[in-house]
Amino acid sequence: MTAHQPPEFFEEAPLYEPRRAVYPQAVHGTYRRIKWAVLLVTLGIYYGLPFVRWDRGPNAPDQAVLIDFPGRRFYFFFIELWPQEIYYLTGLLILAAIALFLMNAVAGRVWCGYLCPQTVWTDLFQAIERLTEGDRREHIQRNNGPWTAERVVRAGIKHFLWLMVAWWTGGAWVLYFSDAPTLVRDLATFHAPFIAYAWIGILTVTTYFLAGHMREQVCLYMCPWPRIQAALTDEHALNVTYRYDRGEPRASVKKSATLRENGLPAGDCIDCLQCVHVCPTGVDIRNGPNLGCIQCGLCIDACDAVMTKIGRPPRLIAYDTDLNITARQEGQQPHFNIVRARTILYAAILAVIGGIMLFTLATRHAEAVNVIHDRNPIFVRMSDGAIRNAFTVRIINKRLEARAFALTISGLPGSFVEVIGAAPRSDGRVVIEVGPDQTREVRALVTDYNYALPPFTPVGFHLLDIATGERADTRDNFRRP
């Protein structure tokens, strides 16, 4: 290290920067309509789904989607999952990740722009803000002025509405974990468990801060996806692109008219800054691909409106690629190829994983048996010289009615199986009853008189539903000295 020299021309820049307030302006157009539709559908699902009923019979809840922690079950319409089937959740997460990658390969951060909860709620909160405090210009003006009574009232209503939405968001969240109509009644009469109120409180606060105050800061500083996305994407993916080949050199309407008259090059961009003003993250898309851009397409709508007004063709800003811009500049046909190696690969992975999950789900058994051999003692010598092995047999009944299973063994001729707490029936069968949607563990004793057996003999355990004839099997080893 050389000696510390005081910098002569060094501009002292701050190490921390304050947030620049973003006042996104209202906008109308194709992408805005798509965003409203997505917002309605996604929020509608989120707030409404807990109230959808699904009849499963008397022994199970009738809520279509329910995460039942005390009962350790997950219900999703016709699917009921047990904790040991958590791999379906793993599969679902893998599907979600690959779907995200596929979206990225097609149109970059389209997830960020339309579907991400952070975007959807922020969009809703900004709509409320425009409703109460006015559109961009009015809002900025008022915020730069003094704290008048009107300003206080408007801001107060905004925060109240925000908190209401946030509170309802938390409220809907807890409904997924308990019978929704009952919980709503209990919540209203202050009979719900404390944990429900706590979660509503937590989600109210997080929603209020993330969608109301943090907004684009979440995308810029907190979310990992923009970083991963930037590493995953390629030059063929569609992005909201300012077609600088068409827009530059930018000039005011009058000036560009003059330029054109004189046969000089003039771009279509009139530098009206509409695209910047509508941007929910405060980005100037004309600077090229930007970390802050969530690909929402609102600047496309804004610019299209301007282009229509000045009589130039729309889509100066559009979903496009830099490759196409270069192609146009070189006089070639621009094209977008959706069928590419990576889109095919992602789609194939999606299909394979989805297919496997569907297949296993469709061929899932409503009964299962597991056995665990006693570790100590591995075998017991009986007084008549027989050898006995003890097993813990776990029987799973995923049906919503009680069932009776006959337990038999195979592979050990002459041996017999007994079950503690299940005396053989008159026909000699060992029958174990398992309640609806339950697991039962029993202790099974297998006694064998065949003295010539090797130390390990495979033994099969067979379960037969005596009413329906459905079977489940497993195997273990019979051990002897």
Partner: protein
């Protein structure tokens, strides 16, 4: 590190630099958001709150207690009390139920076995082994051979009062030291040992004097072990005709037993374990496989 006074802005990105240069590489100043800094300060404040409300700083012979008065031991005591309260109804049901009732109620049976297994691990496993497989001199409780009886009541009595335990109601009997106390001579003991081995079909030397052994057995041993050698459970005298040998079936081991006598002990658990626990323990042992 050197400070480069002439490059305060990066020409490519237009970003300000911190003025720091390492081997010609300049550090850009990409400022963190200010709220990030606030969160950092907030966590510091939060940690100070922890010191105030929870036990934290060590003192010379104590520590700061915190205004919440939280104590890990108290939390444990509270948890245990909660657990006991949760188990209470099942414990009462177990105390009141008879064995057939327990056997026909899967829930109660599971509960009893779980309670019994825990208690077995705490109290019985040191001698009988974690899975009750026993050891030389300590019976295997999973087989169907019982010294003092394998009915649930017999097992409960044995657990309650022990064997040669010193408790007034203990199970007690005596296998005399025939050799050491000069009741039988060495050749007589060898003959009776050969005879005992022949009872369960174990091989004996062709030259063994089984008739002498049998005569001595009838005279000295049959009182407790029975004329047929099948033992007597009210006396804790083992069946000598079966395949199970508490100390081993070698000729030398049998001779050693007849010479010096046998008398294993088991403590009485009454007073140390409550009645319901003893019941659970008995059910656990009974359902290991050998219960009668």
């Amino acid at each position: 590190m050197a400070l480069d006074p002439h490059h305060d802005r990066d020409s490519v990105t237009g970003t300000a630099t911190t003025g720091h240069v390492w081997d010609g590489i300049r550090e850009l100043n990409t400022p963190l958001p200010r709220w990030w800094l606030w969160i950092f300060y907030a966590t510091i404040v939060w940690s100070i709150g922890y010191w105030v409300v929870y036990p934290s700083w060590p003192l010379v012979s104590s520590f700061t207690q915190g205004v919440f008065g939280w104590h890990s031991r108290e939390a444990l005591v509270r948890d245990l009390a909660e657990l006991k309260a949760v188990r209470g109804p099942m414990m009462d049901k177990l105390a009141a139920a008879s064995l057939p009732e327990i056997m026909s109620d899967p829930m109660l049976l599971d509960f009893a076995r779980a309670q019994g297994r825990t208690s077995f691990g705490d109290n019985c496993a040191p001698c009988h082994g974690p899975g009750a497989a026993g050891n030389k001199g300590y019976p295997n409780l999973a087989d169907d051979d019982w010294l003092w009886g394998g009915k649930i009541e017999d097992i409960a009595t044995t657990v309650r009062y022990g064997i040669r335990s010193g408790d007034p109601k203990t199970r007690i009997s005596l296998m005399p030291a025939f050799g050491r106390d000069n009741m039988l001579t060495r050749p007589q003991i060898e003959n009776v040992a050969d005879y005992v081995r022949s009872l369960s079909g174990l091989s004996v030397n062709a030259k063994a004097n089984l008739s002498d052994g049998k005569a001595i057995f009838q005279q000295q041993c049959a009182t407790c072990h029975g004329d047929d050698g099948k033992g007597k459970r009210d006396l804790g005298a083992p069946d000598l005709t079966d395949a199970i040998w508490l100390y081993g079936s070698d000729r030398a081991v049998i001779i050693e037993g007849v010479w010096g006598g046998r008398g294993g002990t088991m403590p009485a658990w009454v007073g140390r374990l409550d009645d319901t626990t003893i019941k659970a323990l008995s059910i656990y042992v009974h359902t290991l496989g050998g219960g009668q």
